[in-house]
Symmetry: C2
Subunit: 368 residues, 2 copies
DNA sequence: CTGAAAGCGCTAACAC
DNA sequence: GTGTTAGCGCTTTCAG
């Protein structure tokens, strides 16, 4: 169909080796021959076939990006960062969505390993690392993102989740909250568990006793966030909720709405990870922002470095990104202890617009 | 590194052709040989190298998915549909985000054409189709999704945008609105233009004069949605806004919030395309829902069919998907004509909870 | 500095 | 039924 290197060689009256050399600059070619070749290339509209190249070099010039939730804008930003890196290098990225399902992750890992992609960036569904075992056994270039795995030496990029959660919790404490509910995500995911740890440390350091009944071990989706919030609200005296995940934060809002809970008047809400829409909500959301784009971007850096280095020594690197608290309307001082009455769907929205005391504005890299 | 077909052949004491035949089932192989081969395969952990296969067959077993905005959950759902189709067929999907930039689209098209992917699903940035010209010239299997292009015969899958917009507008009219603002998206995109057409037809059929000052030719992002809303609100007597795009709807909400506009009390809002979070907003959003997942899924169907058919006759197919109006809280009857006072940041949220008259609940396919 | 030729791993004629 | 062999398009020794 399209012209091959052979066609070009014939047309230019040179050997295919010479064509290859001018295309790749792999060896010096005299000016006159090079010129002839270039001309032939233009005339024939020759495009090197990457399939041949791939086979010969044993590389596919493709990487795999395996993420747990494409609906979560956080991961979308991560993907953008990765894609930008790939684009510069003329690499393709095959993106897969596991929906937090380890089985699906295992499937994708196997499938892409067969496919002989040159490297993997994955946000694993489980910190045990079982799903990534095949990759490690195979020695494929790998960097984990957002979540690390235990006891395995791999490149990793993630947020300071413990610190960010600490800051979030402290923010609530400093506003006067003592009974702070936690929407914890799926257990077994490092980022989530670190956030839980940060929450607990903040409580401890402020002399607030831990109360397991205030921790809702949820999942990661909107629906589950809503139902977990539902049960948290049954706990007496709860005045604030810290949601460890984007989607659950949405669920909490939905629950508030259905139950006629006013936020922050009745209960404050702080979320983990910012998003474009966080400021469009009523109330706008106080959040701990992550550097999502950079996370993907850095992961790309590490991966392509590993790919370039080849299967040599693997001096593993870890990059930890700082978070920043963005204070908006959803957090405020707790209201005076009041008789807890069960309001059902009397949907009254907040009226007062309590501005939180300190408002840092986070800087986020533009998406492109 | 890993075992090749040759290794297997040697180990099983057969020819490589036989190995190939048992792997692919392309020819009959006697039971005993087949068994030997299968055993050798297991012992060596042989995985056929797709690169060799690809080169030989002139197919990469990869498709390209080029979408304009990964931040928009609509396209995320489309992508899920496509990916599901690809997964079943052991195809890889290279997903690209043009951010509505024709240049980037052109780059990706060229880049993936070089890459020799087997087919393209794209949601083009411009209905003129210039960006897709190389694909068409090359005869690559192609299906356009969400948006069609003019004067070119290609497979296409899209929503009944005109009908959906008509329904949206009529919904507002039936509530009593007469001066209805339109947040139109980027011009030159078929879906958007069809929505504008639907809006105009609805007005015309109800004897409402068209007023260009009520049409804000915006873009597709949150920010632009907010600023366009800002200018729409300057128009006298406006009581409702129809937003033709997901992200702009968010922008409108943001603007309402900043300006202290109560929705739907001061102005009603209806959006195009539903999303998981639409019901978490205050007020929850009335929208025209699209079958986003199916859109991707159907596009996958068409594309793989075209790929299978080869470069033969191209009996182009068009699939039009129905939309459904989901009535929630953001639309209501217009309030009595009131003196228009400019309220700045007096952020008062709505208190009453007007339920819209008719509430259909749309059925949407689960994401997986 | 350039060309000839081997071969990456696989499939598909073509033989027997 | 099975084996032999010729490439797919490219890169890269190895000779000159």
């Amino acid at each position: 169909m399209s012209a091959t290197i052979k066609d070009v060689a014939e047309r230019a009256g040179v050997s295919i080796a010479t064509v290859s050399n001018v295309v790749n600059g792999s060896r010096f070619v005299s000016d006159d021959l090079a010129e002839k070749v270039r001309q032939a290339i233009v005339e024939l509209g020759y495009q090197p076939n990457p399939l041949g190249r791939a086979l010969r070099k044993g590389k596919s010039f493709t990487i795999a990006l395996i993420l747990p939730d494409h609906s979560n804008p956080f991961f979308v930003q991560v993907a953008r960062g990765v894609e930008e890196q790939a684009r510069r290098r003329e690499y393709g990225v095959i993106t897969c969505n596991t929906d937090e399902d380890p089985e699906l992750e295992t499937f994708y890992v196997a499938s892409l390993l067969k496919r002989k992609v040159d490297g993997f960036i994955v946000s694993p569904t489980f910190r045990g690392g079982e799903t990534l075992q095949p990759l490690i056994a195979h020695g494929a270039p790998l960097v984990v993102v957002d979540r690390y795995i235990d006891g395995m030496k791999v490149d990793e990029v993630f947020s300071d989740n413990e610190g960010g959660a600490y800051e979030a919790t402290e923010h609530l404490v400093s506003l006067g909250h003592r009974r702070i509910g936690l929407l914890a995500g799926i257990p077994g995911i490092s980022s989530i568990e670190d956030r839980v740890a940060g929450y607990k440390r903040a409580l401890a350091e402020h002399g607030i006793p831990e109360d397991e009944s205030l921790i809702a071990q949820g999942c990661s989706q909107i629906k589950e966030g809503a139902s977990s919030t539902e049960s948290l609200l049954k706990q007496r005296g709860i005045t604030a909720i810290f949601s460890t995940n984007n989607m659950m934060t949405l669920g909490a809002l939905q629950c508030f709405k259905n139950r006629g809970i006013r936020c922050p008047d009745d209960v404050s809400l702080i979320g983990f990870d910012d998003s474009e829409w966080a400021s469009a909500f009523t109330p706008s959301l106080t959040v701990v922002a992550q550097q999502s784009y950079e996370m993907g971007y850095s992961a790309g850096d590490l991966l392509f470095e590993a790919i370039a280095r080849g299967k040599g020594e693997h001096k593993t690197r870890a990059i930890k990104l700082q978070t920043v608290l963005i204070s908006r309307e959803s957090t405020g001082r707790p209201s005076e202890p009041r008789p807890r009455k069960e309001v059902h769907r009397s949907a009254t929205s907040g009226e007062k617009n309590k501005q939180s005391p300190s408002t840092k504005s986070g800087t986020r890299r533009p998406s492109r």
